[in-house]
């Protein structure tokens, strides 16, 4: 299961819509070992393509070093599909190299519907997981 704060999910969906029709991509960093995504980092899609994404390699080095300095890891790796469903493609599965991450897919194929689904991809095996959105605590208002 992926537990994700509402504001982080909204930021990811906004990013995907903004970059449509190109695929958007990024991560949500969080403390190592806590499985708690906390900080969205939008990444440049070096491919600028409607069907492919790749993190810019120099930017990735900077972001990964920053996470290292902060004792963080990429808890969520997200990207968007602009014309297909929010499910990992064969390419997504064959290129997934972070077995500890939640792979979050957002589909921007329709304007009015938000399709967000999360998956674990380990050694070529894909398993879907629930996305539990953590809403702000209104009890304190």
């Amino acid at each position: 299961m992926l537990e994700l704060r509402r504001d982080l999910l909204d930021a990811i969906v906004a990013h995907a819509r903004r970059d449509h029709p190109d695929e958007a991509c990024g991560i949500v960093a969080g403390p190592v070992g806590a499985d708690r995504p906390e900080r969205v980092v939008e990444m440049t899609n070096a491919e600028r393509s409607p069907t492919f994404y790749r993190f810019d390699s120099q930017e990735q080095l900077r972001v990964w070093r920053e996470m290292d300095d902060r004792d963080e890891e990429p808890v969520v790796i997200y990207h968007s599909h602009t014309a297909t469903e929010a499910h990992p493609s064969r390419t997504d599965v064959s290129l997934a190299q972070e077995p500890g991450a939640h792979y979050l897919l957002v589909s921007t194929r329709t304007d009015d519907e938000v399709e967000v689904r999360s998956f674990r991809i380990v050694d070529g095996d894909v398993s879907e997981e629930e996305v539990r959105v953590l809403e702000p605590d209104h009890a304190r208002e």
């Binding site: 993190f55 390699s57 990735q60 077995p99 500890g100």
Partner: protein
């Protein structure tokens, strides 16, 4: 000629869990051969048919070696080499 090589999580099975290892070489190719002698199996994860694998990023200090000399990039004592799996998909 000690060069630090930072290893990503997915390749730490080859280094008994170590996040960073030491190696020697004059070029990246030589360095990778030396890594292989100490950590068998690692080279094949980095190199395919004599070239750096397409979805593995290797950096010499702060630069992706694709922008330098690829496998022929010269390395020197005190350099730091970082390996990161590319994040990509479709």
């Amino acid at each position: 000629m000690a060069i630090e090589v930072r290893i990503p999580t997915i390749l730490r099975t080859y280094t008994a869990g170590a996040k960073a290892v030491s190696a020697e070489g004059d070029t990246l190719a030589g360095l990778i051969d030396d890594l292989e002698s100490r950590h068998p199996g690692l080279r094949d994860r980095l190199v395919e048919e004599g070239r750096l694998r397409r979805f593995v990023n290797v950096y010499l200090n702060d630069e992706d070696v694709r922008f330098l000399g690829g496998l022929e990039t010269e390395v020197a004592d005190g350099d730091s080499v970082t390996v990161l799996p590319a994040v990509a998909g479709g």
